[in-house]
Subunit: 241 residues, 2 copies
Amino acid sequence: MTNAFVEKLRGFGPLSEQDDAALQAATTRARNYPRKHDLIREGDRPGPVFVMLKGWACRYKILPNGTRQVMAFMMPGDCCDLHINVLAYMDHGIQTITQATVATISHEEMTGMFDDHPKIAKAMYISQLVDEGTLRAWIVSMGRRSSIERVAHLMCELYLRARNVTACEEEQLVLPVTQALLADALGMTPVHINRVIKTLREAGAMMLSRGSLQIADPGKLVNIAGFDENYLHRRMRSVSA
Amino acid sequence: MTNAFVEKLRGFGPLSEQDDAALQAATTRARNYPRKHDLIREGDRPGPVFVMLKGWACRYKILPNGTRQVMAFMMPGDCCDLHINVLAYMDHGIQTITQATVATISHEEMTGMFDDHPKIAKAMYISQLVDEGTLRAWIVSMGRRSSIERVAHLMCELYLRARNVTACEEEQLVLPVTQALLADALGMTPVHINRVIKTLREAGAMMLSRGSLQIADPGKLVNIAGFDENYLHRRMRSVSA
DNA sequence: CGCTGGATTGACTCGGATCAAGTCGAGTGG
DNA sequence: CCACTCGACTTGATCCGAGTCAATCCAGCG
């Protein structure tokens, strides 16, 4: 039984049985964390690479005025920067959103795996570039989309990403996010998030309640969001490098 | 005489003479481009890695409604993602802001250099992580800073980054950006950018006119911006990996 | 010269923030 | 089984930062 990380990387390119085994071996040493637990804080010295196996986490930064900005959601299969160890300190924190199972891969293990398994390396590079593209898409949302578009866009993204790693019935999906968290992620206030969600519900596009997202009308939602899934790079390069 | 790229990477860690020479050799094949020229467009198949030697460029994306969001400024010494070739298509474009000299490094050259010069590889990874941190800082700005703070923050960032690669007298610096471009970068309107710049000028913090930035009162500007240079990772890790 | 791209300023509007009360549901303990 | 609490969600009233629209200005330049 392969874990979410292996599953995700497989999606970026075929892996041999040996590759699978190596990945699996590297992610067996996992720990459980409660919700709202800091895996690493801003200013900390980076350690091993984190790999989410179960549960969600987010990258965030607290500003001097006390407000918080969430810059990324991490779900099962996601991992933090491969070369994180070359930096002297973290410029942001990573905190669990739900209870979570997280594996760590040491720097040595990582380099070893890269040397011995080029296909793993390539899949990880793709994964990292997708994460970067996601950051850019986030900037686009914050800069040029209205609040309704922003919320719809994020929902589209999370839906697509989550569906890649968790089986889910129809257009229904478990989204373990509070409205306050969404506000921190989208640069809005919880109050306004609430109103926007209401609008989207009344428009018949989607419903979000008690940690569960239901896409009522995918076409309508995508349309509102102006969503273009390109940046998630799910369509792969045909000719391998 | 070494170019801006070599200079910048040196700042991330000591390089041997051989490293220097290899970098220099890889970036001799350079071309000139006029301003407002697309080096690569959204949807294009990624080619070689771009390295800015002279002039500025930006990463951008045009939305369906015609508005534009700039997601990064590239100045001499900056380069685009190392592993860009593993993706099937670009999810954003890169366009010159000024007339520019740009070198390209092929994928083969890149891998060769990584294998033969581990110090170069490390410096490039740091550089890439800094770029990523910059993207996150951008998100923080868009999400949680007021327009005045945003403008001040960007000016602080550009000033620090530019001072690393170009010698400049005092707190004076050439910033080849129009107010419209700043608007596209900061998610505001040109009109409002103009008013904010006026406010900052009247506050005695900085002056920006005709492509030249003058920091009148660095302390004041940093204070307004809530600027924390951590994310640029100029303080290096003492113990090498 | 007059043209053009950029900068500037004013008047008005509006999206989202802010402030302030609730409501609802899942515990939890008596 | 009910009262209490607490975190999350809702809703209304009001305010303000930034957008919009529309002139005008200005410098460089063919």
